[in-house]
Point group: none
Chain length 221, copies 4
């Protein structure tokens, strides 16, 4: 029953067995990611994914076991990718305000540049987070993100520019909400309010705004 081997296809060349197989898996994962992001778990079609792939439908089952197995593997990859981004700010070389701004900008841009990630997360929430539970290492993720924000908060307090008692998870939630919404609710919002949300100009303007919002809250005396 457990034909799906090593669903963690993170790196393509893991030294082992067949590098070609890893390429096949990576190819499937990329196509699947786009399809799941676009149509959701129920809406995506294995047939369609297979067709866009350089291999066959059978291979999807060989490597990932089931539609759900494939979806899970896609989710895992997506989360492991953003993990790196969010901790890329060199805190010690910057002031607290600069560091927080950089963090917000990076986060904002990541969402902008990876709408498929945003859409996958939306989908997962529609499924009540049923699949993320089994994704290995998904919880280790909080350590790095939260640790990074904690350092920034501490620095800001020491510098006397942030108010006391900011909870890093609250801060992360605030940043995340503002960055996520811009991509997630893009279609309904822009439709209803006749507002461009995808041009570089609009994005740049909103990014600055989000930085302002976050900083204003942290400064608030």
């Amino acid at each position: 029953m457990d034909l799906a081997r090593s669903a963690t296809a993170g790196a393509v060349s893991r030294g082992s067995r067949s590098a070609e197989a890893e390429l096949t898996k990576a190819n499937i994962l990329r196509i699947a990611r786009d399809e799941f992001a676009d149509k959701g778990l129920a809406g995506a079609r294995i047939d369609e994914i297979a067709e866009k792939t350089s291999t066959s439908k059978r291979m999807i089952y060989y490597h990932f076991g089931s539609k759900e197995g494939l979806y899970r593997a896609v989710l895992e990859e997506a989360y492991s990718a953003i993990r790196d981004t969010e901790t890329a700010v060199p805190i010690d070389q910057l002031s607290a305000v600069e560091a927080l701004s950089a963090n917000v900008r990076l986060t904002f841009d990541y969402h902008h540049q990876h709408p498929e990630f945003v859409r996958l997360v939306m989908n997962e929430n529609i499924h009540h987070g049923a699949f993320i539970t089994n994704v290995v290492g998904i919880k280790r993720r909080n350590e790095s993100v939260i640790r990074s924000l904690s350092e920034i908060i501490a620095k800001g307090e020491r510098e006397g520019v942030f108010k006391a008692g900011i909870d890093p998870i609250d801060l992360h939630m605030t940043i995340s909400a503002l960055c996520f919404y811009n991509v997630s609710n893009r279609y309904t919002f822009s439709q209803i309010f006749n507002r461009d949300m995808t041009s570089e100009a609009a994005m740049g303007r909103r990014r600055d705004q989000v930085v302002d919002i976050v900083l204003a809250w942290c400064r608030a005396s």
Copy 2:
């Protein structure tokens, strides 16, 4: 194909034909709303909806024409409901800060109390907003919401408590993002960060925080 009449089943007794028919439609709509919100357009099953309904599958087709027609009707209802909430703040009787706080609180609570609305909007965005386009009157909605916020902003400027130049649509987006995320990303966020997001206490705490964030930004000199 032309069987779907007046998909707007807003009022139950519209004086016309048969009040019973309207009841049937309302019943179908309520069940369908929950199913679509829970599983998305692709994931929901007409059979299942029909089974939970007090009528038969045939009636769904009679009244709404197709699965998509039903989905569209559900969307329409959902948006027409929130419309009323957001304009319920008696601005003239309150200070700008009080009025904005009230607006944020109402919005926050509405999302909290209507997760199915949040989930429907998520779904619609997954479908690139393909169905909301055809929903009649959806654009009239911006007038009331935005007008209300504009008044509050103007009052705050006059009172000297808000900074100049706040765009009401930006403000609405900010409020909406912060309120929406708390419900939309509830499952993944709480899973990853081990944080309760549904208890009354957690909700109350976050609501205050969102008010703070919004006010801090509007005040910021």
Copy 3:
């Protein structure tokens, strides 16, 4: 999930709803019985069954829910048919020996005339009797068969022609074994021993022999 309605399709005209539907079900059941008998549960193909049917594959699922559901319905029918045969001997009008002979002959002939029943039972045993468990009323069956044999045994004892203490279930097992084997093991036995087992002559000869075997045992002092 439970779309399979009234799997008990025993009688074709149950007075109710649609007699046509019952005909459809009966048609499916007959074809399915032959296919399952011939190839087993795993070997039979729903596609093939559907093709031989006057309806479509979809209808099989509509009426029986699944391949297993269809198999179960076939089993049920098969067992309810032999039930009647085995109790058809008018015991009071016959001597014990005559009655027992008649019972054996009827049983023997039934197996001969209904090889598909024999094959279905073989199949069910290959599946460790997994499906017969859920067949309603299958256990009520022992009452009639065993009661009938009990009466014959009692009569034989009273008449002084049977030895004392014959257990009716043992007797039934003996009769059943001798009648069943002739059909069930027909292919391997006739192949290995080059013996005709299907001609009327061979059948008649063996039937007499089986009667002899059973009587000899019951008489044995």
Copy 4:
């Protein structure tokens, strides 16, 4: 296609090529026998057989050519094993009644101890004996079994304890039927009649009964 050599893997070390290869084949055969016995030809899975084996799926094809080839090899082994048992009675040292009793007991016990053999034969009959035809030497088998019974019958006639004219094949069929059924129809019979058929006590009781039945028939004047 011609890769399947000497499917008769009876002896492990046939002096030839590699003793290891013979071990591999024997291992595959044992696993395959259990799987085919349990689930039938159609129900057994090559993947599953390979997994339980100490070698790979490829080896199955290397040694046996196909699923059918493997099945045939299994059948052959099964029949060659029972062959030995049935001729193990030392007729000259026993009376006819003792010899026949011993023969029946041995046969009964063999079936009891080798349910997989019984199940394989059932399967083969479900396939209309299609594969047993090609099994080499399967017909030589009748010689030994039938010769042995013939001797016993002759001895019994000479001793005046058996009736005249018993056909050895009829006798074999009778014995076989009674012994076979107890294992083959174990699941359905025990289910329907609520009777234990596998405990040592139940088996012992029935074994004595079968001996009685056979002897009663042979004695019958």
